[in-house]
Amino acid sequence: MMKILVNGAWRETRSAELARALEELGYGTSVVTTAVNGEFVAAGERPGTLLSEGDRLEVLAPMQGG
């Protein structure tokens, strides 16, 4: 188990791989876009991206904007 900061809140995840971690966290079918430690990680790179303890993961989705 690993602790990472998901959208500003501490969460635990078993998988270190970003793609799996997202499924585990419940984002399996959502249209989202991700950044790890402030760097964008494209959808295609999620399978090969490994998370480490304490990483900051942003999972963003479309929202209203002006």
Binding site: N7, G8, L25, G26, Y27, S30, V31, V32, T33, T34, A35, G38, E39, F40, A42, A43, E58, V59, L60, A61, P62, M63, Q64, G65, G66
Partner: protein, 257 residues
């Protein structure tokens, strides 16, 4: 027709999607405005709520082009990363670039703005920078690769209209060929008509529509006023004068000896 990068648009009214009382009202307002472009943003998605998914479905059903923004970004790094993320999720190279420099007025940080614009233009983004009326900043943004500018009318959400009329006129006069879109600060349709009359190419409205008592009617009113302003510009308005000129001809006036 208004050309923004490679895209031809008929409508001169872009609509923000935030702060509406309900999603259905937003949808109706976009239709009433006959907007072809709406601005959108990104936020943290909660796995349980999936609020973003519903919003995104709504927007796609409207069949409009989206212009994602980098609202809330205070640094070049944040703005650039947000642009990257926006391109992926919204499937567009358009980015309304906001780098906020001051939280009271939400005014652009023109230094960060130019830096971020340079980076994003180099990466192939079509950047719509939210900027001030500063001519020199405008020059830098164009040098950075921007082909459209979005000067503020007044601070975001203030509803004050074109605050620095002198500065905005100078900006328009200085860059006659660059599409200039007034972004932020307008309150009522007459403000928008005035912007078009002065030669600005389009207007982006959010708060003034979304927070009106009847957003749908207000959206329609803005659309009309903007068409009126555009037509008036083309129709060649009279020049203001200091003294009165009679509209009824004086020749042939009765009772004059």
């Amino acid at each position: 027709m208004l050309q923004l990068y490679q895209t031809q648009l008929t409508s001169r009214l872009m609509l923000g999607t935030a702060r509406y009382p309900a999603p259905a009202v937003l949808a109706d307002a976009v239709r009433a405005a006959r907007a072809e472009v709406v601005t959108v943003s990104l936020r943290r998605e909660s796995a349980g709520e999936r609020a973003g998914q519903a919003f995104w479905s709504l927007i796609r059903e409207l069949g409009v082009r989206v212009l994602p923004n980098t609202a809330g970004c205070h640094s070049v790094k944040e703005a650039v990363t947000t642009a990257h993320m926006a391109r992926e999720v919204f499937g567009t190279s358009w980015i309304k670039l906001e780098v906020i420099g001051e939280d009271d007025t939400l005014q652009p940080d023109v230094f960060g703005l130019v830096d971020a614009a340079r980076t994003l233009c180099a990466e192939g983004y079509e950047v719509f920078p939210y900027t001030t009326e500063d001519l020199v900043v405008a020059e830098r943004l164009l040098a950075a690769g921007c082909r459209v500018l979005m000067p503020w009318g007044a601070p975001i959400g203030s509803g004050r209209g074109l605050n620095n009329l002198f500065g905005l006129k100078a900006l328009r006069a200085h860059f006659p060929e660059v599409p200039l879109i007034i972004d932020a600060g307008l309150g009522v349709p007459s403000h928008a008509a005035q912007a078009l009359e002065l030669g600005f190419d389009a207007v982006l409205i959010n708060t003034a529509v979304a927070q009106a008592r009847d957003p749908v009617q207000m959206a329609r009113a803005f659309a009309q006023a903007i068409e009126a302003g555009l037509a008036a510009r083309a129709a060649g308005p009279i020049e203001p004068r200091d003294l009165a000129v009679p509209s009824s001809p004086l020749i042939g006036t009765a009772f004059r000896g």
